[in-house]
């Protein structure tokens, strides 16, 4: 038997006029998964969510919830709720009535309804604010009402479209933590949209990186960060150095890549000798040592930037390329200035360098 997913999307496409908002997306969301959609503005994240919620109908492809096709079902007949970006609380209803709205439509009887609303408000720590109107609440409180209103229905899947974007940094961190622990406790799948790469990496079971309507890469946070498939993913999440070269040789799990004046080892295969490739390496994976013949590459420190906990070095390779290196400030920063201009050698673990596709 096929595994049943909370959400399954099969070859979903959506166009608005000439704009392809979502292009042939297939994605399965496992039961109780916290999945994050990450990507630049206009890449189709909201459109994807709106199709799952039922506000947009795909031009082609299928959407299944809990194994049942819902592609054309209206929103009020799907077991999915949404936390909207601007919360969309009903201004004429108080907090209690906002949270009770969905339960009333489901015909939950009064005493059970009261209990469930109270439970939901307690969960988001809003007890005592039942009779306030949305415009009498702070941004963070409104955000919690929106969350309670959506969660009180115990949906299979909760959709969150940049729910934290309007909050200040401190509140944001706190809500990140609360959202994550709520999701674990309730056992509901969360599909979470964000622009914030750090948020995506810290909160998610899996991250979906989107670009221009396409899924660029889907994977656990470590995979997305450590083993990006494309230059786009590497560049979108964190800092990266991209080195161009050609394959010298390739064996089971190690390839040797020839760059302008040296040869570097890279984990990974599936390439043939002579093929032009690009190699990605994160700045913090590179070790600097004094100039000797031990390192993989040789260069000269061009500049230094003090970042507090770390120092960012720009190193000019002997071959003429500029690499970024991030080094924790374990020693005192006194020596920093004197190092600029020095010759250094660079090295890294073979599995830190990643072969990029395409």
């Amino acid at each position: 038997m096929d595994e049943v997913y909370d959400v399954a999307m099969q070859n979903v496409c959506k166009k608005f006029g000439d704009t392809v908002a979502v292009n042939n997306v297939s994605l399965d969301i496992r039961v109780d998964e916290f999945i994050t959609l990450l990507g630049p503005s206009g890449c189709g994240k909201t459109t994807l969510l709106r199709m799952i919620a039922g506000f947009e109908i795909p031009d082609s492809g299928k959407i299944l919830l809990d194994g049942v096709e819902v592609t054309r079902l209206p929103p009020y007949r799907r077991d999915v709720t949404t936390v909207f970006q601007q919360y969309a609380l009903f201004p004429h209803l108080n907090v209690f009535q906002n949270v009770a709205f969905g339960l009333e439509r489901r015909g939950v009887e009064r005493s059970a309804l009261n209990k469930r609303v109270a439970g939901a408000l307690e969960m988001v720590r809003l007890e005592g604010l039942e009779t306030r109107r949305p415009n009498e609440l702070s941004g963070g409180q409104q955000q919690r009402v929106a969350l309670a209103r959506a969660l009180v229905l115990e949906p299979k899947v909760l959709l969150l479209d940049e729910p934290l974007a309007a909050l200040d940094l401190k509140l944001r961190k706190q809500m990140q933590y609360e959202l994550k622990s709520l999701q674990k406790r309730l056992g509901i799948s969360f599909i979470f949209v964000t622009h914030d790469q750090e948020e995506a990496l810290t909160m998610s079971d899996r991250v979906v990186v989107m670009n221009a309507g396409n899924l660029e890469q889907v994977g656990v946070p470590q995979e997305i960060y450590e083993r990006p498939h494309s230059e786009f993913v590497a560049g979108f999440i964190g800092d990266s150095n991209i080195i161009e070269g050609t394959v010298e040789s390739s064996s089971a799990d190690l390839s040797l890549i020839k760059i302008s004046h040296a040869t570097i080892p890279v984990q990974g295969n599936g390439v043939q000798a002579g093929q032009p490739v690009r190699v990605m390496i994160r700045p913090e994976k590179i070790r600097l040592s004094s100039h000797d013949r031990q390192g993989v590459l040789q260069g000269r420190i061009a500049s230094a930037m003090y970042l507090g906990e770390a120092t960012q070095w720009k190193v000019m390779l002997d071959g003429g390329q500029l690499l970024t290196v991030l080094e924790q400030n374990t020693a005192s920063a006194q020596a920093m200035k004197t190092r600029v201009g020095q010759a250094v050698s660079l090295s890294w673990e073979a599995d830190s360098a990643v072969l990029l596709r395409g």
């Binding site: 009020y76 009903f90 201004p91």
Partner: protein, 286 residues
């Protein structure tokens, strides 16, 4: 630092002076005159005699006139109800359904009738509704009827004329309220399990209440004072308060006409107070 501000405030005071004068001269002064005249009596040849008497007010309560009051209220109520029923879907369509580039055209179309005088438009309705009028001729020709329908000179004709004339005053405020409605809220309601009907009842309707209330006030109150439509389209018996007042002034019974006007004004004020209590905002009427 303080002085210039004070001076500016003084200048501002002077700037409102003409407006204030206008208000005093054209609204308060006539009102005062009407109040004074309403306590006078009518002398020979329509001369007004300024002796203080309540008799005009006593006469206003005469059973003779009660039927006109009831008819007025009834027709105003019907006009308002019909306007709401017709306007809501129209406003809803323009605000929430019509393609963006059509909106402005549709809005202009709703106010185009204002470019012609109401009197002339009412005459046009007479041409349409007469026994030999456009509608009856068409129906007779098509063979659907064999006798002309009595469309003119009755309460039906008054209603048609009134609803037609007041419709824009209902459509526009409802449109404004719906246009301001955040459509995300409608999606949120559906997301929480409300179908289209419940979304309308629980979200759209309550959030358009200010516009609805404004429309009701803007239609009901002028309908109470209507006199052109009942005069031209109504029958001999279809008299409304507006005609009653008009007749008194035409017959040179200014004191009684003034008393009736004042009573109508008081009734309208009372209604406005009720409407404001119900949550009407002055800004909605603008």
């Amino acid at each position: 630092m303080k002085e210039p501000q004070k001076n500016r405030a003084k200048t501002a005071n002077w700037l409102v002076a003409p407006g204030l004068f206008w208000l005093l001269f054209f609204i308060v002064a006539p009102l005062v005159i009407v109040v004074i005249v309403s306590f006078a009596t009518r002398g020979a040849y329509g001369k007004t005699l300024y002796d203080f008497t309540w008799s005009n007010y006593a006469r206003a309560l005469d059973a003779l006139y009660l039927s006109a009051y009831w008819r007025t209220i009834w027709i105003a109520l019907l006009t308002t109800t019909l306007c709401v029923v017709v306007s809501f879907p129209v406003a809803y369509y323009i605000a929430l359904r019509a393609p963006e580039r059509w909106k402005r055209i549709l809005l202009v179309l709703t106010v185009i009738p204002f470019w012609t005088s109401f009197l002339i438009r009412t005459y046009a309705w007479m041409l349409l509704l007469r026994s030999e009028g456009v509608i009856n001729s068409a129906l007779l020709h098509s063979g659907l009827i064999h006798e002309p329908l009595p469309l003119l000179y009755n309460d039906f004709a008054i209603l048609v004329g009134q609803v037609y004339g007041e419709l824009p005053f209902m459509i526009l405020p409802i449109y404004v309220a719906l246009e301001r409605l955040n459509t995300r809220l409608l999606e949120a309601a559906q997301d929480l399990g409300a179908n289209r009907f419940w979304t309308f009842v629980k979200i759209t309707l309550p959030l358009s209440r200010p516009g609805l209330l404004a429309g009701i006030v803007l239609v009901f109150i002028p309908s109470l004072g209507a006199f052109i439509t009942p005069d031209l389209l109504g029958g001999a018996k279809s008299i409304m308060i507006g005609n009653l007042i008009q007749n008194q002034f035409a017959q040179l019974n200014q004191p009684f006409g003034s008393a009736l006007s004042l009573l109508l004004t008081l009734a309208v004020l009372l209604l406005l107070v009720i409407a404001f209590r119900a949550g009407l905002k002055a800004s909605e009427l603008a």
